[in-house]
């Protein structure tokens, strides 16, 4: 897929030195809204930055709807849990948009413990001509008021405000890893390592626990929940993935506590590749339903798999993301990279899937043509508006000129978070503290 690149660098800190990346600026999640008009990013410092696509203008056709900063706000603050003497990180783990129902935009953002519903609204008028107040807000002396007038709305510079409308807290003992809005637009689930809780968007003081895999004796714990998502159309169905490489599909109509799955997806292990790391690399880091609701995609350490919801015993398709790492699992275990949680994403028509890798590489797989491409998100290697060159990792033997050998990969540059525009071929890729937005080449 040919692309032109359009780079946005986010650096909200006061330091303008681009060589120095503060940890708070590390982007921890990216998400387009349901129309693709808005793109939200969350970072380690608890901030949310929302970008809005420019209206396409006839006078500047080459600037086809670029994304500009629309709103920035501090979603979560660092907290201290006095009871446990533990700091609660303010890092935004996930953002999910609600479909737009009126002029305002709503999104859910979560850190390890608390989910918040934010309303983002525009204000471009303000009332002027109060009776009792001056223009600058000071109260007028009542004895000087001799006439009565009605305040009039006057235009003002556009102001975008974000207000926290709901705070859903105190329901999770463990760290929240995902949230998912139901297609009924009234409820959502929040998932931590051992439990899935169902909330109503209007009610913040109560949530229903619908999955609980905590064993009676914590010493027997061998499996945790890694991600959960609602089915895009069936409001009673959701799926959750585990650290043992399995996915369970649950129907909320069956019972109040969905401990019994109605479908269980797992691929039997290949004995020829078994090693001490087999379980770790089979741990699923992300699960996503396709837009049409017929497939599930899962990401584990080395592969992306597409599952047909009707077939539980093996995936429909398996794509190797970076199989050249299989021989390096021991070093990746030592430096903890083996625990990195990569996300995966569908394009709008479910024909292409994308996921990240190391060295700021990300991979796209076309499910129909079976072709795949590796691209790089880096400013050094691509100029703005230049078409991205496919990259290749050489696994041994002779290295061609522009190939990279496995040993020179930079494992600190990982692309964990990516998102795809719901209708168009526009993708957003987070590379540490940089956000890259790529669009399909016009004409």
């Amino acid at each position: 897929m040919e692309e032109e690149s359009d780079t946005r660098k986010i650096n909200n800190s006061f330091l303008r030195d681009h060589n120095y990346a503060t940890e708070a600026d590390i982007i921890s999640t990216v998400e387009f809204n349901s129309t693709g008009e808005l793109l939200a990013t969350g970072d380690k410092g608890g901030r949310v930055v929302v970008f809005q696509r420019e209206q396409e203008s006839k006078t500047q056709p080459h600037r086809r709807g670029e994304y500009n900063v629309y709103s920035t706000f501090q979603s979560h603050e660092p907290e201290f849990d006095y009871l446990k003497s533990l700091e609660i990180e303010e890092k935004i783990n996930k953002i999910k948009w609600l479909p737009q129902q009126n002029a305002a935009y709503f999104l859910l953002s979560t850190n390890d413990k608390t989910v918040k519903l934010w309303k983002i609204s525009e204000r471009d008028k303000r009332p002027e001509g109060y009776n009792l107040k001056d223009e600058d807000g000071r109260f007028r002396d009542p004895s000087t008021i001799t006439t009565l007038r009605v305040p009039v709305l006057q235009p003002m510079d556009l102001m975008v405000e974000a207000t926290a409308r709901r705070v859903f807290s105190n329901a999770h003992t463990y760290h929240i890893n995902s949230i998912s809005v139901n297609s009924d637009l009234q409820t959502f689930i929040s998932t931590d390592d051992l439990r899935v809780n169902l909330w109503n968007l209007e009610i913040t003081d109560r949530s229903f626990n619908i999955v609980d895999i905590k064993p009676a004796n914590m010493e027997e714990l061998t499996e945790v929940i890694t991600s959960a998502e609602f089915h895009p159309q069936q409001c009673h169905t959701f799926a959750y993935s585990s650290s043992k490489g399995s996915i369970r599909l649950c129907d909320m109509r069956q019972a109040a506590l969905c401990d019994k799955h109605c479908k269980y997806f797992e691929e039997p292990e290949d004995p020829s590749t078994r090693s001490f790391f087999s379980e770790i690399i089979s741990s699923i880091s992300d699960v996503k339903f396709s837009h049409n609701g017929r497939y599930l995609m899962t990401r584990d350490y080395l592969t992306v798999k597409v599952w047909d919801l009707q077939m539980e015993n093996k995936p429909l398709e398996t794509y190797q993301v970076h199989d050249y790492l299989r021989g390096k699992l021991c070093s990746l275990y030592e430096n903890d990279c083996i625990f990195d949680k990569f996300e995966c994403v569908w394009n709008g028509s479910d024909s292409v899937i994308m996921t990240g890798s190391y060295n700021n590489f990300f991979r796209m797989f076309d499910r129909n043509t079976k072709r795949d491409v590796t691209l790089e998100a880096s400013r050094e290697n691509s100029k703005p508006r230049a078409i991205l060159k496919p990259r290749k990792v050489c696994v041994g033997g002779k290295r061609r000129k522009d190939e990279i050998s496995v040993d020179s990969l930079d494992f600190s540059k990982k692309i964990l978070h990516t998102t795809w525009h719901p209708h168009e071929n526009i993708i957003a890729v987070a590379a540490t503290n940089n956000l890259y937005i790529f669009q399909d080449k016009v004409n």
Binding site: L86, L221, S272, T273, I280, C330, E334, F339
Partner: protein
């Protein structure tokens, strides 16, 4: 970093290998070739493979210890590392090297290896119990983070083995009951460097034990203490641990009633 070992020959013994066939897909140190089941075969294991396996075990135990020292351990990571340790331990038990190692450890004294296992959460559990905090979260959290289920077969303690069913939700690996590591009560450390490092912290709060076994004791222990404890565990330790654990379970139960969940 691990030396890149030579790939061990696949021993086609026709036995059902715990770790599957020859490490076909893996190169170097990550390969886990088919283990031989008999103790005699232990001697035929290539020394590089055992070295690599031992290094992996050491590294995993240290990671687990460090996990517990973190302000809030990442549960997923801890569980995955603990499962890896279990796998290694299972394989080593099968080929008889486990016994050898634990005996060697018991003989050697390695105070320098002791790391302090923090556990703020242990302090939490005690505090919660004493101050009567009625928060189910706290109690469970105390359990929770303490978990990182380090398990092993404990031949001395049949009641423990039966009590701790490791009925993995994952029937694929068919992992059998492990039982539980008995955490020994180690002697206080004599290492001055360690003392200095943790001088401002009240040692009685650190106890991986406290939550796992419900007992209160001084906590400092190193990675190998977890292994050492295997052979030498006393039924006394067991029974009090069961009692304390059941106390915690009762507390849990009471909390559930009060909280009405």
């Amino acid at each position: 970093m691990f030396p890149k070992g030579t790939k061990r020959k696949f021993s086609d013994s026709g036995e059902e290998a715990v770790c599957g066939g020859g490490g076909g897909g893996d190169q170097g140190p990550s390969a886990a070739p088919a283990p031989s089941p008999s103790p005699a075969a232990a001697r035929t294991l290539s020394s590089s493979y055992s070295l690599q396996r031992q290094s992996l075990l050491d590294m995993s135990l240290i990671k687990l210890q460090l996990c517990h020292m973190l302000v809030e351990p990442n549960l997923c990571r801890s569980v995955l590392i603990a499962n890896t340790v279990r796998q290694i331990q299972e394989e080593m038990t099968q080929d008889g090297t486990w016994q050898i190692m634990t005996q060697a450890l018991a003989a050697a004294q390695c105070p320098a290896d002791r790391l302090v296992a923090t556990e703020v959460l242990c302090r939490q559990t005690e505090a919660a119990a004493q101050e009567g905090y009625h928060s189910e979260e706290v109690v469970m959290d105390g359990d929770a983070e303490a978990e990182v289920a380090m398990s092993s077969l404990s031949p001395v303690s049949p009641q423990l083995s039966s009590a701790s069913y490791l009925a993995g939700a994952d029937s694929r690996t068919g992992e059998q009951v492990f039982g539980t590591f008995e955490i020994k009560h180690p002697a206080p450390p004599s290492d001055p460097a360690l003392e200095e490092l943790f001088s401002d912290v009240d040692p009685s709060y650190y106890d991986l034990d406290t939550v796992l076994t419900g007992m209160q004791s001084t906590p400092k222990m190193g990675p190998y203490d977890l292994l050492e404890s295997l052979s030498s565990h006393g039924p006394t330790a067991l029974s009090s641990s069961t009692t304390c654990r059941s106390d915690l379970n009762e507390l849990d139960h009471i909390m559930e009633i009060i909280v009405g969940s």
